[in-house]
Symmetry: C2
Subunit: 888 residues, 2 copies
């Protein structure tokens, strides 16, 4: 129901930039520019609320909306001194959509409204340019026909091409006024024959039919999909902008162009752009004539150029951001058709933000907010050369699991990846899904492509840790490992081993063949931005790293310690996996201890390496978390091999594997549960940790390192008693070793909070002696929401689309639900120990929204994969800045 | 460390019945009887704290404990006018263990201490009974040798038998004093040769060695196991009772016996028992002479008999409970050696409690507390005849999954079970594990035996619902379904199809052959007790029932509605499973709807049946909860069959099955998640519910029923949005149908709270319109603690043994952790809607401790399987009584 008193239509003079919700982005911007005194062709905006009303009324423009539109139109006519569609001197208008969020190209636009059989003649006479008038009429019909009357675009193209052929015209511009008149006649006939009605001659009718069409386009398929893909929610509809037309194609003192106040790619503070004289916007895009650099305008029309530069600077200064503007010159007069914050590369974003601070346009706080932390990914990873990329064929779409660009030959096993790489070949490892046994091959490959698994699958997590490009869950591809071929059914494409593909881990796209790549370069501006971020942020940023290499990379990115070292990954190489398998198959404690003693030197070495890289910083080591079945093979072939190797018959092996099988491994016998059953496993690990710490401190096996700070973390704790039992054992070992070594080691023992119950009894766990909590938000999400991350992919998309979850809870922390468990745990934990150290080490730790949550909830630190460390640093700073803004 | 001022030894005169913690049960009771003026042989008790000290001191009796013991012994000697082991008139004592909780037979006892080579002669002279003296010495040596000196019992038996053979003695009693003397000599030699030391002649040394042995027996293997099995925790050790010996074998005016103040089997208030003159306790047990009924004593020694009856009555009146007593008559003088609350059958427990109220011995409140609710199971199910049972061979041990006794021929498939039953044969269905497709066969069988699965496995849950005997997870048995044989490896037993076995669902024992059974009889006393319970309890008791039959049974047991009707069980019969499979395989919405429309009439019929049985009461119907893969076959054979039936090729079927496979089905695509993807499923169910309610109310298809109260329950809700979406659809359907029917139906829509997140956002879910919560504590436990009930069996036992959990959290609700989620949910839910209806429908709903928890936390009702309804009613009343006791 419309409200009489409600304002549904605003003239540009009545709006401003803060009214995006009801005027849409475009309408609000046009109004804002108007208020800056910039020469914008006059017009008005029908609000998004009118659009909502349109749908509420069953797709009809409400009469109150019409009444107010008519009033505004009359005003516009008065202002322009012309009447819409007047036979002698017609006012022409454009009708454009414009929602509160930018949805470029998704909704409809109709230009030149107001032309009909009579006014076209008047326009020709008035402008003395019959070709222009008839071309405009032709364009209107074509746009109106396809957009409003829903005809095929090709219906019109076909007529145009036929006439061009007949006349021997190569380009549209070769057509004369007479030719265009002939085309108009043919268009009209086509419309009549197709739709059974005439092209509407009444200009107001044209206008309202166009408004209708724009409203309808809000819910067309591609607009809905666009909103879904871009997670645009909560909008009520599109606004409609009705604006007087200005023409860049009225002769040699007319023209049109686009310009940017700074360079989009590099961020350089240099005005640039392109323009064409005697042309319309479409012509610039069509590429028939080569546009001139905007600097040429300075020579051609110095006054107009100066006005353009001044205007652009004024707008940039007003918005305090780089502007992307469209302008038209109509018979020597400059009009600004659009201004918006320009899109830019990450490098440009950083440079612009930093330079604007130097120019005193922005404060450091504002500059920090100007950069989307996720965009930094671009700076830290290889990217495709855009030109080379745009020429390549996208053959499949997966999940953007780990950013970067990778090119290489397809291989299907980790072994092949490793072998081929040794002879200098770049490879892409393609697997249905990866398992811990593939680690070495993954490390060798340039990129990883999997057919199954989500953003937190094994492949995705490991690849992010390595900073390696990965596209996961690419269900388009079918892998035949035996035949060594990869098929993309929908495209009928088959790629054999050795064939080349390219992966974009930032978009999830898979390309055929090789694409040129560009290496990441970290500028001084990046360093400046990061140092600002560090000044503001209050929360620590650590990294998840399992190897000295990862630790070193992360420290280079500013990591302030290790928040999570996963020890299970260390068990898969060479002799180690043999030893752990020996332990699993052992029949008694003595045999298990013997097998574990073989692992001890490896583990000690692993930890020593990490302690060296992280001297002076805390290193949190999670004791074994994985269930034992992960260490046994699954394939018949591998089982047979193992049987020979271990001299254990296949039947016994199979029965052990069956014994260890779990219906819900996620809720199974792992982490501290395993250690309750087999405490000797943690005993060995604790001994390796403390011995490594002692040796590194003493300088055994390397130079002396000061400030070794191990933090021993017990996973999957659900009860305080589990913690007590395992902590007591650990402390016993640690204290004995420390006493023997006569060295002081600053160690802590704490726990993961990843089982909901642990959060609920957090006070009890601190009472039992936990010195820190680290939230394992992957598992806490799985158990808290009851979602298996390996399975939920099937329906989670639908859940996000229906706004049941605002985001995939495995990507962005579910602050309402899982976050509540975290709040409870912190509150209870700190009720016992005020200065309890609290961190996060799930995949969410490097996600900006989650980082902000962690800041707000008083975390001591976040921990994330090495390549996300800068992202977390920036996000942490932004959280502080936003908080300050709220408070002030 | 011992404390000087601490009292470690109490004379019987110093203790009382409330000192069990430190005096043990036996010691406290002896002291209490002493204080009642009952003739108990004098003595004293060394406390459990002394036992703790013994272990703290590295298995040494502390000197302070010794000092106090010596003092008490001196007192005892003074009181008795004899000295321990005196050569002329020796004081003899017994040393007996006695912990705070009764652990019958688990720890050690030594009698006749104080006898040695000299005092045995003194005793013979003093009593004028050389045979008695030497026999006592012989017994001491035998007990002391095996218990204290850790020799084999058979070492002594062998000597005894050899002498008996030589002398031509049939019974021990045929041996003369001389024979016994010879045996003593041989015993001494054996001790010396085996242990290298002499049998100790120093009486005090004998006594302290015995105390040592009793303390040691606290941690012997069988005692530890006993505590583990009986979940006895938190005790610090055993007390030791040292008591002057009295002898029932001193001649014809001596004797010994046991008696009960009421009948242990029936509860009848009639004094009964057995005794033997000129005998010791062992002789009664040995069964050499047939004991006389205690009524015979009345004729033989009317004065003693009267004294015994009076004493017993006095003790019963004092303890206000039926007593099980041991007495000895020494030369005409009556001594009471032990009195304790007698063990009794459930029937006896109920009768005694009710009659004691009538006798004004007990208040109704106390009577209600007197019965262990779980014991009522005995009354409600068939039991084995104890005599027949004790003769049968236990061939395997499983979990007591559903109480009762069952006898029948072994069958291996549900089909066979169904077929054989039709021809009147009783069968036991034996399966590796059952699946929903076995339901009909399970219903036909007398009992169910499974090799896998725990207390909450499919077989267990369904069997309890049906009140059918079930032994689950019996890992001793190996089933070969093809060969139709059942093997018990460890016993080398093979049973073929058609062979008889007997199951005890209350103990988990499997017996070979047929055992006679007794039918349950519910007495008037039972009714009285239940009516008292109902008067006290404040919480409602509903039932979990999926069929009209179950509903009727439950209502008979006092159920006040249905708290959980699981609709998935309804989909497995005949045509239904076809329809649901058709739906799963359907490629589009229309086809799915068509398949669902076939299910609609069945569902409507199911619900109508329940509404009729439960007229006037609420019926909570849970919409489909199971994941779709549960409805598809798993075995190759079944898939091929389905392929033919559905005319869908095997490959397509397999690919669908693979599609639906989940790594963690527990956290998968089920419940409301399925309905978000396929809302048409719930649409059909809601329509069936409301149409059934309307038809039953109108009297269509049966007579008119007033008060149909459907409660529609949406499962697996994790977010308020899921609830909103599905509730809106449901209300839309319901309101339309109600409007059309012109009938008022009192319906509610609510949700299960079984995902931890739901508990955390309970306020939001109520804001979204939930009218009731029902806690699905099975899943809430699984997700909240991160335990898969299908897998956790492997390590949970160890968890309970190590006291990480006080009980298996799938049997007894984890009140600290999962309970906290429940408290949060109720608090948040009722912060929005004060009178929010709150129930529990997990397996815990009929578990007494959980019922008490629910009462305390303000639940509206608990819901449990039909046969647990009386248990829940009693437990709910007990909760109130206990609460009152605390408050007053």
């Amino acid at each position: 129901m419309a409200t009489k008193n409600k304002k549904y239509v605003y003239s540009f003079e009545e709006g401003n930039k803060d009214m995006k919700e009801i005027l849409g982005g475009k309408g609000a911007n046009l109004a804002e520019m108007k208020s800056l005194g910039i020469n914008v062709p006059p017009g008005f905006t029908i609000t998004t609320e009118a659009c909502r009303l349109y749908y509420e009324d069953g797709k009809k423009i409400n009469s109150e909306v019409k009444r107010q539109t008519d009033l505004r139109l009359a005003e516009l006519e008065k202002k322009m001194g012309k009447k819409l569609g007047d036979a002698n001197d017609p006012l022409l208008v454009s009708v454009r959509s414009g929602a509160a969020s930018s949805m470029p190209g998704m909704m409809d636009t109709i230009l030149n409204l107001g032309l009909n059989d009579k006014s076209v003649v008047g326009l020709a006479e008035k402008t003395g340019n019959a070709r222009f008038a008839w071309d405009s009429y032709r364009r209107l019909m074509q746009m109106f026909g396809s957009v409003v009357m829903e005809m095929e675009h090709s219906d019109f193209e076909h007529i145009l091409e036929t006439v061009k052929d007949t006349k021997g015209a190569k380009y549209d511009t070769d057509l004369t006024a007479e030719d265009l008149k002939e085309i108009v006649t043919k268009y009209k006939a086509k419309i009549k024959s197709s739709k059974g009605v005439e092209f509407p001659q009444d200009p107001k009718n044209q206008m309202y039919m166009s408004v209708n069409a724009v409203f309808n386009s809000w819910n067309n398929f591609r607009a809905i999909k666009y909103r879904e893909i871009n997670n645009i929610k909560g909008l009520i509809g599109t606004a409609v902008n009705i604006q007087a037309m200005v023409f860049g194609n009225l002769g040699d003192t007319s023209g049109t162009g686009v310009c940017f106040t700074r360079n989009q790619s590099t961020g350089e503070a240099k005005f640039y752009g392109e323009y064409l004289m005697n042309a319309q916007g479409e012509d610039v895009v069509a590429g028939i004539r080569t546009p001139l650099p905007v600097s040429a305008l300075q020579k051609q029309f110095p006054k107009i150029y100066k006005e353009l530069v001044d205007t652009c600077n004024k707008v940039e200064k007003h918005y305090k951001d780089m502007q992307d503007m469209e302008f038209t010159i109509e018979e020597g007069k400059l009009y600004i058709l659009q201004a918006r914050n320009g899109k830019r590369t990450a490098a440009a974003a950083v440079r612009i933000a930093v330079e604007m601070v130097k120019e005193k346009v922005l404060t450091v706080e504002k500059a920090l907010l100007r950069i989307d932390p996720n965009q930094l990914n671009q700076l830290l990873h290889k990217q495709f050369d855009p030109i080379s990329r745009d020429k390549a064929e996208v053959i499949a779409q997966g999940l953007p699991a780990s950013p970067g660009a990778a090119v290489g030959e397809v291989v299907f096993t980790a072994e092949e990846a490793f072998e081929k790489t040794k002879s200098g070949v770049d490879v892409i490892l393609v697997r249905t899904e990866t398992s811990p046994e593939d680690i070495q091959g993954m490390f060798s490959s340039k990129g990883i492509l999997t057919a199954r698994g989500g953003m937190t699958s094994h492949a995705a997590v490991v690849a992010r840790g390595m900073g390696k490009c990965c596209v996961a869950g690419c269900s388009d591809i079918i892998i035949d490992e035996k035949a060594k071929i990869l098929t993309i059914k929908s495209k009928n494409i088959v790629i054999k081993e050795g064939g080349f593909i390219s992966l974009d881990g930032s978009t999830g796209k898979v390309y055929a063949g090789k694409i040129n790549t560009q290496d990441p370069v970290l500028s001084g501006n990046f360093g400046t931005l990061m140092s600002w971020a560090d000044k503001f942020r209050k929360i620590g940023v650590r990294t998840n790293a399992d190897t000295p290499h990862d630790a070193k990379v992360a420290r280079g990115f500013g990591a302030e310690g290790i928040g999570l070292c996963r020890t299970e990954h260390m068990f898969f190489e060479g002799e180690r996996i043999k030893a752990i398998r020996e332990m699993i198959l052992a029949g008694n404690l003595e045999a298990r201890k013997k097998a574990l003693s073989k692992l001890y030197p490896y583990q000690k070495g692993d930890f020593a390496g990490l302690f060296r890289e992280m001297s002076g910083l805390s290193v949190t080591i999670r004791l074994l978390d994985a269930p034992l079945h992960e260490f046994l093979p699954k394939e018949k072939k591998d089982i047979e091999e193992l049987s020979k190797e271990m001299k254990v018959d296949v039947k016994t092996l199979n029965s052990k594997i069956e014994d260890l099988h779990e219906f819900n491994p996620m809720l199974g016998h792992r982490g501290c549960r395993l250690a309750i059953t087999y405490p000797e496993i943690y005993d060995m690990q604790v001994m390796a940790i403390i011995d490594a710490a002692i040796e590194v401190t003493k300088g055994i096996g390397g130079k002396k390192v000061a400030g070794v700070k191990p933090e021993i973390m017990i996973p999957i704790v659900a009860t305080s008693k589990e913690f007590t039992i395992l902590k007591d054992r650990a402390i016993n070992i640690v204290e004995t070793r420390i006493k023997e070594s006569k060295i002081k080691i600053d160690y802590k023992i704490g726990t993961m909070i990843e089982v909901p119950r642990a959060a609920l009894v957090a006070d009890k766990i601190v009472e039992a002696g936990a010195e820190f909590f680290s939230f394992g938000t992957n598992d806490l999400t799985q158990m808290g929401i009851g979602l298996s991350r390996d399975d939920a992919g099937k329906f989670l998309k639908e859940y996000v689309a229906q706004d049941i979850f605002a985001n995939d809870p495995f990507e962005v922390l579910d602050q309402e639900g899982v976050g509540e468990l975290i709040r409870i745990a912190i509150k209870k934990g700190r009720s016992i120990k005020k200065d309890l150290k609290v961190g996060i080490c799930g995949e969410h730790g490097g996600e900006p929204k989650t980082v902000e949550f962690c800041h707000r909830e008083g975390f001591t630190y976040v921990s994330c994969s090495p390549f996300r460390v800068p992202i977390a640093r920036l996000a942490a700073a932004q959280a502080v800045v936003r908080e300050m803004a709220k408070k002030s």
